[in-house]
Amino acid sequence: MNPADSVSTESFYKAKGRYGGIFSWILSTDHKRIGLMYLTAILTFFFIGVALGVLMRINLISPGRFISERAYNSLFTIHGVIQIFLFIIPGIPASFGNFFLPILIGAKDVAFPRINLMSWWLYVTGGILIILSIFIGGGAPDTGWTFYAPYSIRTTANISLALFGVILLGFSSIFTGLNFITTIHRLRAPGMKMFRMPLFCWSLYATAWTQVLATPVLAITLMLLILERFFAIGFFEPNLGGDPIMFEHMFWIYSHPAVYIMILPAMGIVTEIFPVFAKRTIFGYKAIAFSSLGIAFFGYLVWGHHMFTSGMSDTSRIIFSLITFLVAVPTGVKVFNWIATLYKGSIQLDSPLIFSLTFIFLFSIAGLTGLMIGTLSLNLYLHGTYFIVGHFHYTMFGGAGFGFFAGLHYWFPKMFGRMYHEKTAKVSWFIMFVGFNVLYFSMFILGMQGMPRRYFQYLPRFHTNHVISTVGSWILAVGLILMFGNFIRALFKGEKAPMNPWGGKTLEWQIPSPPPEGNFETIPVIDRGPYNYD
């Protein structure tokens, strides 16, 4: 394994393709270009989502003064739809996964490059349709991102277009998953056994199966909702003999596994980062690999815990609650292995590691509050309050979001061939960390006090915490702007990145930054595990 000879090759940015200009990107089947196109689109939608979130918080310091009731309903709906379907779900697999999966397993591209490009087009079309649904038709969707029936059937807002957009995103997600599974099985370099793959690949593998096996259920459910709105087929409409609870079941049969589509790749990223910044082999390689599969498996069987108050027999509630607790086991296995990896390591406290440690901290709070609301007795009290909102944002933003930022800091030099300013990265981390906890921890307290989620107006006793939370959102926004300002500055003015700035042992660090078009001049032959520090 000595790919260092291939330094002379030109970066993929300069490769001459069949098309010129913008077409060399939007018609490219190169996994690296597609990964970067995803990254651009995903971050654009992320910032739209953030802006909507900040607007919601602004309403909540003085309800009705800036924003109408109807607009508020649309804000939390579109905020949720964008951040979940357009940012968190495709966030890591479609951008970093596309860019790095083939490189990490020593391949030149994914198994189906053209299907990969089609996925991106489906993603962008879906995203544009969702944004369009805000402006045309009967008004922006106002159902909440869960589209619960029967309100979603009866509202005059423009639900159908948004639903169609989400269905397209679903297909994009399915095709990405299909591509990754086949890539991992078929295109590993010689000697790259399954258990020699970097663990990010294992997490993508588990994610891909979840994408493939859960997303179709969402597609059919939302398609039925569209038919319901146009033809009154009645499956989810009680007046016609249907059952709205069936919608909840079918929605969560997808949407709970989707939570693991969001978090598993982030876990994969921090698993890559810990060995590199502790200069130690990962502790418990197989345990981490299997825990990814374990989380994906148990993730299928717990959807009912979203519906403890919707009407369900005690037996099924107890079973769902029990399996929910079981998910904590593989998750705990991961956390202990990460910490054991750091033990006695020579720690290099750079921004990727700081973000990864933050991931563990915030995700632990998220996981432990998750156990609380997985408990039946507490759930009945906390269901539908801000406690859920707080828990959800700790998992998704504190977990998946900070994992995404960790990956961005870790792989930025490789993707763009430039170094960002390390000190600014640390300052932006600090501001975001403070802002995040102020914003979302106050939601836990609000929830305990009984503040219901999605309410436009509230009792005066909740006012103080709402103001604190809103101030947190501003701090967080400042941190985000600083972090991305740092990246944008680095794109133009950053120092040239060396081939291996962090001393990583995985394959992406053995090729130039940015990588050449075919990734490897000669396909590497692998004879050892991925984190070979000892």
Binding site: L178, T215, L224, M246
Partner: protein
């Protein structure tokens, strides 16, 4: 763009990869229809009698005919792959042609069935259906959605097989490279199997 071309060449020979992709796609299709079968089972246990009565209104003769037609078309599809493997291009084209023809006949029958129901005033949200029992409303909604979605799959299949037929005629699908045809065959058999479940669930439960 020499690199991607090389990749394409390498992939064309990766039969296992192409078939693996197709099988995974078929898993997603199973789950896609699975959502509807789930709804069917819930509503059938809720409205057992209404389902039983409503099924009598479906034309069992046309349903049986369609089952025979689809099964035969599946056999033709399998034969066309067999002929390509043997290098008998003309026979393979003929078999694919018959498959397309049978697919179209299936759709015609479906059209006849649906238009008869619609003429009788039975379709989702029709004034007549809204006066009937809730179980009946749900039965016919399920009938239209499930056979409709299946019909859509048949239509897509017919289009794809037309494509493979062209490829076979032009020599792009031949003895050493027929994975496209094989994957199309897998898809067609899947469509067939879905019908094998739909037929008893709607026509034979009286």
């Amino acid at each position: 763009m020499s690199e991607p071309k090389e990749i394409a060449v390498r992939h064309r020979v990766d039969y296992t990869g192409a078939k693996m992709g197709m099988w995974i796609f078929l898993f997603t299709e199973v789950l896609f229809f699975g959502g509807l079968f789930l709804l069917y089972s819930v509503f059938r246990s809720k409205y057992t009698l209404a389902f039983h009565d409503s099924a009598k209104e479906l034309d069992i003769f046309l349903g049986t005919a369609n089952t025979v037609i689809l099964l035969t078309s599946s056999m033709m599809m399998a034969l066309s792959i067999l002929f390509v493997r043997k290098g008998e291009k003309a026979s393979s084209i003929l078999c694919q042609g018959i498959t397309i023809f049978l697919g179209l006949v299936f759709l015609c029958n479906k059209y006849i069935e649906w238009s008869a129901h619609i003429r009788h005033g039975i379709y989702p949200d029709s004034p007549l259906l809204l006066q009937m029992s809730r179980g009946k409303i749900i039965f016919f909604s399920l009938y239209y959605v499930m056979t409709g979605l299946h019909g859509l799959h048949v239509l897509i299949g017919v289009c794809v097989i037309s494509g493979t037929l062209l490829f076979t005629a032009r020599g792009k699908i031949y003895r050493d490279d027929f994975v496209k045809l094989e994957n199309t065959g897998l898809y067609w058999h899947f469509v067939d199997i879905v019908w094998i479940y739909l037929f008893p669930l709607f026509y034979l439960i009286t």
